[in-house]
Symmetry: D2
Subunit: 377 residues, 4 copies
């Protein structure tokens, strides 16, 4: 693991998620730019001292020298955005699979370079767009894919958070401070942090891709450089239209990602904060509430469920599904087998490149006086 | 009453709403363009035959001749959009107050003419934007006005319906057929029918007015002339930004108007389909759920509540609030008194003009390749 | 109308409910034991002075002398419990139909006497157990009746309110003061006020009748004489078992009547505070949410719905359904016709007698050390 | 680990929960009464073959011989009820801490014997009443303890499930078959499986203990020996009264444990299926919704939360909290330290004995014709 030292939030999330199914064992790490802090984290994690490294370069070099079966199989990257690219690149170049937090990199060029590296090496790069790991998101995707709701016409996806309503970067929030800094975050703020999740979710469920967009990006809190809020009109390549909103100044909102998709036969509604329900609104019969573990769901939903109905599964379970699938694919690779189809269902380097492109296009549109910006130019 | 004969939906709604508080009595009507049908409706309403008229012109003429105290005090207009203007004009010209369904007219010019007439005559014209009649909408408006949620930065208002998902105008839906016909509806479809409600609600609660907009209007179902779906980016004159969506092809949705408003201190959320709850999301304390009739609400909320907490009030009660207020203002006028401040709280001809302007601007923007269209040009 | 003078809550509710559908006109009243107050209310209701009476005796006597077509057709009784019996009796004896608030009387004997009178006179007595007037309650009843959920095995009905948590009878609450007074309320407090609603609802929906019960009645707030809280184990004559709870000291609850009924095939759940949803939980397929006005409902639900789906109907509409049906039955009677089957669906004197018996049995069981008390002994 | 071989559900749950925080490592096991099956599970768990044992006796004996630091520190027992006692006893007698599924044993005598053993040995025995592991349950308990809702007067706790509505024990449900068998389950069915959870939760939150009860136990599905449904009137030693229901024939219910507690100042409501919300209903101000991770919660809630607000934590996280606390207490013990107060918050052998006593008393009351059965006789 690269990153995830003291004070980091997402590193712990990755560790808990990776442990859940017992398919991945954390064996080494470079947890902080400070060797001291890295060591502290290593001890807390019961790691042997000689596998807690000062730098990710050292980690990759030393691990590579260890005998097969003993050395790490993959690298998990949980650093701020600007520190994704170098360790990912080095890991791939040295034969290690990678699982990386989103957005993939700080610039589109870096993302594309990683995509080339993945192609060349044949290694696996998983991107932790967590929200597609939920069983009811899988169910929604497959209901669309199988035509259960007819042709998709509309998609509304929204991601309001409230934690940056006030200028918390002036207090001691480690989270806030790097996220508002373009040299660390990249060209986008809220759109990069949460907008890409919304984009990924909308394309995942609808099976359609954004073809044109019209963005209104906003820096609501004075003194910030990057957007902390934005709304985007969407046109999708399958004919649907929609709206994507992402805001980190929606006072009082926790982490309220939700999506509604309307087809010619029915509408779907899903809320991340109550992730085990999927509302299916039919044209002329009662709404149905699909629930994790209840009734006759698609295999994809079932394959990503751990406990019986009514025992709520949450964010870490969804996150764990990405790690489990990533691990199972590596295991299959090690054994020369084709992994189960369900295990192949996780975001990859292509999603990462697409997310970066989305950010570039949103920022371009945000500055334009023209209504529509083509996604693919 | 003008309109509201057999097969009409909104006429009955107006009648029920007007009866609720016993402040208005239906004394005469011209319920249909067919005198036969008008008579049938008159009989069902226990009206004397001589006060069921063949035309609204006849009604206004004859009623005017009746002695004061016996003749009608006001005219309620519940016809399709294109038939609002003439009866409203005639009523005002002959000294009758008017309460009219929305949108006010078919064209902006007509709306402006009515506005001039209201100014000249000093008569009252109420417009039935029902949704501002709910107690929790009043509460929201006053919380914003009093700064309880700080300065408003964001507003999301949405109005999805699903009843026009299929081409029901080809079956026998009286409702659908006139609404999709520009000669009856005007220049907008869904935006006119429900988008104006959303616009009115957003401006009512935020106290800010739309200053610029960017619209994507869509005719989803083939063969239709007018929009059945649209999304609009908003910029408000108080600095807020937002999104307004209105769709009648959102499969499976009933009448799901809802609004979220975020200020610097808190966010508000209200859903028309569960109208007695107002969610107040504070920055750093638990969300509160304000409820009709519970605790210490603003006078405006209390003044529009009839029954104790937990006895749900619905659409007809909200509608009834408009009629009650309208009636109370007429009564005060008759008695030479100033009506209670709470009774003066209903949409007027100005809201009607503004609604029409909104439609013109949305349609203009929908056709434009420029991102932003100024509201006030 | 008898009762409903200044300060009363339920009188106004009856009046609004009766007006809603324009089938009943209030023509006279004796609104208060104080003739002065009665006159004030009469004026507020725009009644002619000569039809505002000092006593209900005077009202019934004088109205009877008026010519048919002019005199009142029925009497609405909205007084506290102990003042139901005499006006109801006198009305029936003089040929007037009666609609009366619940519980029917103060004692079982009185209730039975009214039942005899109704039988003898053939007149109609409607009892305003409002909650069976909701469309989704009708739907639930008919789903049970038609076997949609299989044989009913369990029923949980609960009615928590919080308004008597503190000793509000010591402040100025007119509502509270008579309700805690046995000379006015009868032998039961909370059970009489709201427990009978729960009993009526449970028997109405399940189609089963309580055959045995085991009650724990409680006077939680010191100084009260009657119960303000109680829980009752139920055994029904169709084999179901269940629990009924009623409390007026459930701090913070508004008026949260709800019921769940489980059959061999599915469970039903309905909440009075969100009355337009009926949750149908199937054994092995997704839960369905039946909604007022949506899809293919039973005729009974449709016949008690006024506005299209998504326009919420509330308490007054449910109450209005009782008045509408009562009025339609009287109209049919006047015209020598059989009323429509749907109009015959309202609580009658038999429900009133049953409610009184329930109270007696609950109180008897509450005092008993034996577990089960038979309902029919 | 004892139990948790192929086909078992709860074994996997224990393993996932124990892994989540990286404080416990599964080092050995006897997963099935069939050595073959035990080996299969061992391999799936990447355990060395020599630490997968044929019997729990063998496991305890062999592990004990291993050097400290290498041998297991504790035993996790996840077998059906009748197989809890012997391994727990043997583990305690040989110096191992124990974490055991509920109910603690098959008979009260066995439970009491374990209690004595715990006292004698000073070892830790944790009981997995999972539901007290949720942050919002901790918050509720501390709000009661600190008087935030005043003196508790009422408690309603209910636990409806629907999975035994049909006679699934006749199909191949391994879960159902042992649960309905008194020789494996003990004297109670649904009450043992889920009723004890409800009892534990109610006493945990209210801080009051059941002093008297009146039970109606029912075997709804023909052919069963043990109860599959029951309702219990409660009297608590702090003066509160209440109702506890548990049913496994509530068709369509998943795992819908919920509790409401009413004090003199406010009411609390919590639902296991949406565990991150705690509804606090105040007497005369708006209801508040406390949420995991939001605002100023009690330390106990915060100490059992892993991820930021709006990232839902579920059943496995609550379960993990028990394992984490259990592990932290063992670690402290190993280091001769006093564990953090928050870590000491998990159900112990005393809760287990109390649960068994509850079952005995419920069954006794169920057979009695007397209304009340004293808990402490």
């Amino acid at each position: 693991m690269v990153g995830g030292g003291p004070g980091a939030f997402i590193g712990d999330v990755h560790r808990m998620a990776s442990r859940l199914d017992g398919q991945i064992e954390l064996v080494c790490g470079s947890f902080s730019s400070s060797p001291e802090k890295s060591k502290i984290t290593g001890r807390e994690l019961f790691l042997p001292e000689d596998r807690v490294y000062d730098t990710f370069q050292e980690m990759i070099e030393k691990e590579k020298e260890l005998p097969e079966g003993e050395r790490m199989d993959c690298v998990s990257i949980v650093t701020p955005n600007h520190l994704h690219f170098l360790p990912a690149k080095l890991a791939l170049e040295n034969g290690f699979h990678v699982i990386c937090d989103k957005p993939l990199t700080r610039t589109l060029e870096e993302a594309e370079e990683l995509e080339r590296l993945v192609e060349e090496t044949g290694l696996i790069l998983a991107l932790t767009h967590t929200y597609t790991g939920y069983p009811m998101v899988k169910q929604a995707r497959d209901m669309v894919k199988n035509g259960d709701i007819g042709t998709v016409r509309k998609v509304y996806v929204e991601y309001p958070q409230g934690w940056m309503t006030e200028k918390i970067e002036e207090t001691d929030s480690k989270q806030a401070s790097w996220r508002i800094d373009p040299s660390k975050s990249g060209i986008a703020g809220a759109m990069g942090d949460i907008g890409t999740h919304a984009e990924n979710l909308a394309e995942y469920i609808t099976g359609q891709r954004i073809s044109e967009l019209c963005a209104d990006l906003d820096t609501v809190v004075e003194g910030r450089v990057l957007d902390d809020d934005g709304s985007v009109l969407l046109r999708m390549d399958g004919g649907a239209t929609g709206v994507l909103t992402a805001s980190q100044v929606a006072a009082g909102e926790e982490n309220s990602l939700s999506i509604r998709v309307y087809g010619t036969k029915a509408g779907l509604e899903w809320h991340q904060m109550e992730p085990n329900s999927l509302y299916v609104k039919w044209l002329d019969k009662p709404m149905e509430v699909y629930r994790t573990g209840v009734g006759d769901l698609y295999d994809s939903a079932t394959a990503h469920t751990r406990v019986p109905a009514g025992h709520p599964e949450g964010y870490l379970e969804a996150f764990g599904n990405l790690y489990r699938n990533f691990a199972k694919c590596i295991q299959a690779r090690l054994q020369g087998e084709e992994p189960d189809e369900q295990y192949q269902d996780f975001p990859t380097v292509s999603d990462g490149v697409r997310g970066m492109k989305f950010l570039y296009k949103v920022v371009e549109s945000g500055k334009s006086t023209q209504k529509w910006t083509s996604f693919d130019d």
